[in-house]
């Protein structure tokens, strides 16, 4: 394996499971990348990771069209890739597997300092605003803001603040960093949207080193040659790694020679990082889909209107760029945020066997996947291949029919699956809300979280789902609370009636949970918060109906 490190190609000596931070500091001796925590919480170790990727899958219809083409020629796995786009994202190198660098462009702070003049505009803004005191956090901030310029659609203050939501500074109090960002917002307001031109511009303006352009040339030809990525065979003995953001926190210094199976390199399942459509029934989200890409997916956003609002409640930009959807589920943490959202949306999981890669898979509802504290229904030779979101089909002629008649959960199916089972109505407008209680608004693990969704069919609430995390040994679906709302009249209801409904749902939710005490909150706090957050869902859904005047916190 080869990686372009700043301006030179390198073949690492270390094994692919070594954290990139150690590769950078110990093997390459590049000491500008700092270790502040080794658990993704400080951003001192941030680096830029460049690659060329297939353009995001686009809308549902586009995906559908693409998939139809692909399916007509089942042997060609990676055909239909379509347009390629460059991507330069900031990631925490302490949680990044070295193997994930294969064929990519790694830029460290030394790389950014190699621009002509030796001082990039981001550094200059920091210098002028005196935004570096002890300096230990500075390389990380510079990396994050450089990535923001390369990647973000929001070149405003909100975008800049989001870009550094995973970077801690203990010295400055952030005032000067904010002022430096304000300078950059002014200075770079005119960056083009198109990523390729934008990167060229950023190289010209000495934000990024020139090696970015040569890398993109190189990566482009690699793709043209249609070389299949060298993919590993899946063997049951190996540890599987999604983004590593959970794994490396638990194993900060893995044994020498550690060599896990990286989902991102599993070519045979390139679908593993993709959003696919199964007709008009399911949105199939590859388990290796990064959280950033999940929220960026047009199809996901179409399917769950407004879901992108909740992106920043999950970890930080740095972590979202690395963490995968599948990892969040397999983790089986009772407070996993994506899991809470997906549960609240009635998602299913697709499990595949590692040993018989091409055959056998089974699907089951996500709520039946969790069987105990940090325990899942995964068998030892299985992995999660995909998460399935039931399609929202407002106004379509979708007729969800039961090609499937098993019970929900735990049922093995083989190789063939028809969507649309047991979900009740799928038509009607989808309402979705997510709430999380934590000590800090950003980059904090929840004390409790909850998602809620329902569809408004005519005037009634259908398919009500309420999930709750941090209130039991597993992520819960609150079925009693949801049942209480099922079929209730929503449209035209008086605020008072909505508030009453809310109170009923809230009370049931508080009864249904079984929280415990720990460092993130006492049981009493958690129980009470679930009730409050259920109210917050209602407030979000029915603010326009005037429910605020009626809610009793």
């Amino acid at each position: 394996m080869k990686v372009l490190v700043n301006n030179a190609w390198v073949s690492p000596k270390s094994s692919n499971g070594m954290p990139a931070l150690d590769f950078i500091r110990l093997e390459l001796g590049l000491k500008g990348t700092k270790e502040g925590c080794r658990e993704g919480d400080c951003g001192a170790c941030a680096v830029l990771l460049g690659e060329l990727v297939p353009a995001s899958s686009g809308s549902w219809a586009q995906i559908d069209e693409r998939d139809r083409r692909r399916n007509s020629d089942a042997t060609v796995v990676d055909k239909g890739r379509g347009e390629l786009v460059p991507r330069y994202r900031a990631v925490p190198s302490c949680l990044l597997a070295l193997g994930d660098l294969a064929g990519k462009h790694l830029i460290t702070i030394e790389g950014l300092a190699s621009v002509p003049g030796g001082l990039s505009p981001v550094m200059k803004a920091f210098l002028e605003e005196n935004a570096s005191q002890c300096g230990f956090c500075s390389p990380g901030f510079i990396i994050s803001l450089s990535a923001w310029l390369a990647e973000s659609d929001n070149l405003d203050m909100a975008g800049a603040l989001k870009a550094v939501d995973g970077n801690l500074c203990r010295c400055t109090g952030y005032g000067a960093i904010r002022r430096a960002a304000e300078r950059l917002v002014k200075e770079f307001a005119d960056l083009p949207h198109d990523r390729m031109t934008r990167l060229q511009r950023l190289v010209e303006r000495a934000v990024l080193p020139a090696s970015v352009l040569s890398y993109l040339d190189y990566a482009g030809t690699q793709f043209k040659e249609e070389k299949k990525p060298a993919h590993e065979s899946l063997t049951a003995t190996k540890a599987i790694l999604g983004g590593g953001t959970d794994f490396y926190v638990r194993n900060p210094e893995p044994e020498e020679g550690f060599s896990p199976l990286l989902l991102s390199t599993v070519g045979a399942y390139s679908g593993i990082t993709r959003v696919d459509a199964e007709g008009r029934s399911w949105l199939r989200l590859g388990a290796g889909l990064r959280i950033t890409d999940f929220f960026a997916s047009q199809a996901v956003r179409e399917n769950v209107p407004g879901i992108e609002k909740f992106e920043t409640q999950f970890a930080s930009t740095l972590v979202r760029n690395l963490a995968t959807l599948g990892g969040n589920i397999v983790n089986a943490s009772p407070v996993a945020d994506m899991t809470a959202m997906l549960l609240g949306l009635g998602a299913w999981v697709e499990l595949r066997s590692l040993s018989e890669t091409e055959r056998g898979f089974r699907r089951q509802s996500l709520d039946s996947f969790f069987i105990g504290y940090k325990q899942t229904a995964l068998k030892s030779d299985e992995f999660v291949a995909a998460i399935l979101l039931p399609a929202s089909n407002e106004g379509s002629d979708f007729s969800g029919s039961g090609a499937y008649d098993g019970e929900q959960g735990g049922v093995s199916l083989s190789g063939h699956f028809e969507g649309g089972i047991g979900f009740g109505a799928r038509g009607g407008k989808l309402f979705f809300s997510f709430e999380k209680a934590a000590k800090r608004d950003k980059l904090d693990i929840a004390a409790v979280n909850t998602a809620m969704s329902f569809r408004m069919d005519d005037a009634f609430a259908r398919s009500v789902r309420i999930s709750a995390g941090g209130v039991a040994e597993i992520p819960l679906l609150l079925s009693k609370a949801a049942m209480a709302m099922e079929g209730s009249q929503i449209k035209g209801a008086k605020p008072k009636d909505l508030a009453k409904l809310c109170q009923t749902v809230k009370n049931l939710a508080e009864e249904e949970v079984r929280p415990i005490d720990d460092v993130r909150g006492s049981a009493a706090y958690r129980r009470s918060m679930i009730g409050r957050l259920v109210q917050a869902h209602f407030l979000r859904f029915f603010a326009r109906e005037g429910i605020a005047e009626e809610l009793e916190p």
Binding site: K34, G135, G175, E256, D444
Partner: protein, 753 residues
């Protein structure tokens, strides 16, 4: 680019902290094995499985310490490695060396400790009840509080608790040690106190101090945490180097650092306060139970600062304050920016708040009425001079348009059911000087090289507070040369001896004054030489922008030439400067004196928005009016104000240091210990600097700035309390820092915690 500007290197990733320094080929890495209970007796340590992991593995225990196994100085209660008993959960009990860091850590984990549990205590009040104190308690009495309470129209009493605070310097603790010729030990430490390290290493190695050389290059943050607390790691690294005869690097991973090192002292306090009908505070009493942890460390000095800031920025004619240093089986709590003062401010503001509630008076009215005024005597006998409490208080009220703001908040609160706002003011009066008198001294060494460039060495450690920039400014101004010609060197015990820690906000005051003295010495010699060359009197000579000026007119003689001439004429171009803050004294028996060179004043106003449904709050705006004297560098001072303020906000609202009843640290990672991030900070922050005044005891009438602004964060606590009261007027107040969401929820629910 100014050569003095360190930050350029930071931004380019070139700055080297301890762990970034090149390692000699034969360097060994060290790891520590930590204790796993709050108190335990070691029966034996079995090293065999650790040693079996590799031939490079070396295990060192208490018995291997060649000198005195002791690094505590105020009190000999802190061993390098405990012989028989450990006294807190996370105490290093063995040192392991190996070729790689990973191997060292693995070997440390492989040690088999045979031990038995001993009874332990974590609650300071329980320690006090058992009479378990670090040192005898201290009391300051003034006036006659008991009698005054009888005259009061209103008297309230209560309790206030404040939690500890983890420093989270982004660079964890670390040290590098190397055995050099003739048995000399060379140590590089991430410390605020090179002399403290030198002394601890010398003592534990049984060496005279002249055989231990300590350097501190620069620190990735410290905030008090690398003052006394750095000594252990340096002593361990030195021990490793001495025994193995190879260089040793010890660099803590975050988890070890969190578990093993000290933090800000948690306090639990009782107060009683009384006022007359008009709201003049007549008496105040407080008893502070300082949770000191297992050893003395800096606890007495910190308690002294608490006792000397007991009434905050307010004049109180009668009172009694008692402080106890309660010994518990927790890591030794230590210096953290503010050094005992924030805890005292919080108790007094809590008392004042309770009084305002009882009197049904707005807090700010009560605050304004009782602020220190010019010439007021402090209760410890020091007349307050150049007082700017009222000035800053009034100015911040103007700045925010207080009456309008309050009306707006009232409107908002009546029109919003699920959101409430609150605002509060907080005045600060903070004494500058080490409360331990002998520490108020500093030295500096200045070389002018033949080419005219200048090298400055002082005891001031650069840890992000940009003290080197300030000292550079001082030297440049005195010598009359551009800043670019000056380099401020790292601190080494070779160049400046017997330094005091860079702490107590005094770094640039003390070291700047010492540098000034050295500069003046050299300048005097150079002026005499210039006078000779230009045939005039030395008094006629000044130097400005690198040029010699005679009677106000610039001459052709340049700094460089002058230096060259002086060198040729065999004039000494080096000087050592020394400074001891004048006028300080304190009588511990009567508890009276002048412990501070001066006070720093300021007032903050904070507005918070409470989300009643979600039981959490957002800092909406903060306004600070601060007195930073005649600033040596405005951007540096602003950075200090904003940085300290953020830490203050973190302490009051967010940072939740938690130990289990068994003494185990529960918030043992950055995922469970949250500190302010960029979006936590107020959406709007206005800092207004009061125009400078004379301050002859600091360089160029500047003022120390490191610690005072931390106190402003306390305003957030009371602003949130106001918002909560708007949401639930009958809510029961418990003065308890940090005000985390769980406590917000408890207040709203009327639930006991």
């Amino acid at each position: 680019m100014k050569t003095i500007d360190e930050s350029l290197g930071h931004l380019r990733g070139e700055t080297r902290y301890i762990d970034d320094l090149p390692e000699p080929k034969d360097c060994l890495h060290a790891a520590v094995r930590l204790s796993e209970s709050a108190r335990g007796r070691i029966r034996s340590i079995d090293t065999s499985s650790a040693l079996a992991l590799g031939s490079s593995v070396i295990v060192l225990k208490a018995g291997d310490v060649p000198g005195e196994n002791q690094i505590g100085f105020t009190k000999a209660d802190e061993p390098v490695l405990p012989e028989k008993e450990w006294e807190y959960w996370g105490q290093p009990i063995a040192l392991v060396l190996a070729e790689t860091r990973q191997l060292a850590r693995k070997a440390a984990a492989a040690l088999v400790i045979d031990w038995e549990e001993l009874p332990a205590r974590t609650d300071p009040r329980a320690a006090a009840a058992a009479g378990d104190f670090i040192l005898p308690s201290r009391t300051i009495v003034w006036g006659d509080a008991e009698k005054a309470f009888e005259d009061c129209a209103f008297v309230v009493s209560g309790r206030a608790d404040s939690g500890g605070q983890e420093h989270v310097y982004l660079e964890t603790q670390g040290a590098y040690a190397e055995l050099r010729d003739n048995g000399t030990l060379f140590v590089i430490s991430s410390t605020q106190s090179p002399t403290g390290i030198q002394r601890a290493v010398a003592q534990s190695q049984g060496l005279p101090m002249n055989k231990v050389e300590v350097e501190a290059h620069r620190l990735g943050g410290a905030f008090g945490g690398k003052e006394d607390q750095a000594a252990l790691w340096a002593s361990l690294a030195a021990l490793g180097a001495r025994v193995s005869k190879r260089p040793v690097k010890l660099y803590l991973d975050r988890k070890t650092d969190l578990r093993a090192t000290g933090k800000r002292h948690p306090y639990s306090s009782d107060f009683k306060i009384g006022a007359d009908k008009e709201g003049h505070i007549l008496a105040f009493k407080a008893e502070y139970f300082q949770n000191s942890g297992f050893s003395c460390d800096l606890s007495p000095a910190i308690l002294a600062r608490t006792l000397l800031h007991a009434t905050g920025a307010y004049r109180v004619p009668n009172g009694k304050v008692v402080g106890h240093m309660c010994r518990t089986n927790l890591p030794s709590f230590t210096a953290f920016r503010g050094f005992g003062a924030p805890q005292a401010f919080f108790v007094f503001e809590a008392a004042l708040d309770a009084l305002a509630q009882a009197m049904d008076l707005p807090r700010e009215k009560l605050q304004r009425k009782n602020l220190y005024r010019e010439g007021d005597p402090s209760y410890y006998g020091m007349p307050m001079k150049s007082v700017r409490a009222e000035e800053s208080f009034d100015r911040v009220m103007d700045l925010v348009g207080w009456d309008k703001l309050k009306a707006e908040i009232d409107d908002f609160n009546t029109s919003h059911r699920l959101e409430k706002k609150g605002a509060a003011l907080l005045p600060v009066s903070f004494g500058i000087s080490f409360t331990k008198l002998p520490m108020n001294q500093a030295g500096a060494l200045i070389h002018v090289y033949q080419d005219g460039s200048v090298l400055v060495s002082t005891g001031a450690i650069e840890m992000g507070q940009q003290v080197s920039r300030k000292i550079g400014v001082i030297v440049a101004r005195i010598l009359g040369i551009p800043l670019e010609w000056i380099r401020v060197e790292r601190t080494s015990t070779l160049t400046v001896a017997n330094t005091v820690p860079t702490a107590a906000s005094t770094g640039s005051d003390l070291n700047g004054m010492a540098a000034k003295a050295a500069c003046e010495e050299i300048l005097g010699r150079l002026k005499a030489k210039a006078a000779e060359s230009l045939s005039c009197k030395a008094e006629a000579i000044t130097i400005d922008q690198g040029k010699v000026v005679k009677n106000g007119r610039t001459t052709a003689l340049e700094w460089k030439e002058l230096v060259e001439e002086a060198h040729t004429a065999r004039i000494d171009l080096s000087a050592h400067g020394f400074y001891a803050t004048p006028g300080l004294f304190y009588d511990m028996k009567t508890e009276r004196g002048t412990p501070f060179a001066y006070h720093v004043y300021g007032t903050a106003c904070i507005v918070v928005r409470l989300d009643v449904l979600r039981a959490r709050c957002k800092l909406e705006a903060a306004y600070i009016v601060h007195d930073s004297g005649n600033s040596l560098d405005q951007k540096v001072d602003l950075g200090q104000i904003e940085g300290a303020f953020a830490q203050g906000l973190g302490w009051t609202l967010l940072e939740d240091l938690r130990f289990g009843a068994d003494g185990r640290l529960l918030s043992d990672s950055l995922s469970t210990y949250k500190l302010p991030d960029i979006s936590f900070m107020p959406e709007k922050l206005v800092v207004d600097i009061l125009p400078g005044r004379d301050n002859p005891v600091a360089p160029f009438n500047s003022k120390a700035v490191g610690e005072p602004p931390l106190q402003y964060g306390i305003a957030a606590y009371f602003a949130l309390l106001q918002a909560l009261r708007a949401a639930k007027p009958e809510g029961e107040t418990r003065y308890d820092i940090p005000f985390i969401p769980e406590k917000i929820e408890a207040f709203l629910k009327g639930r006991a915690l």
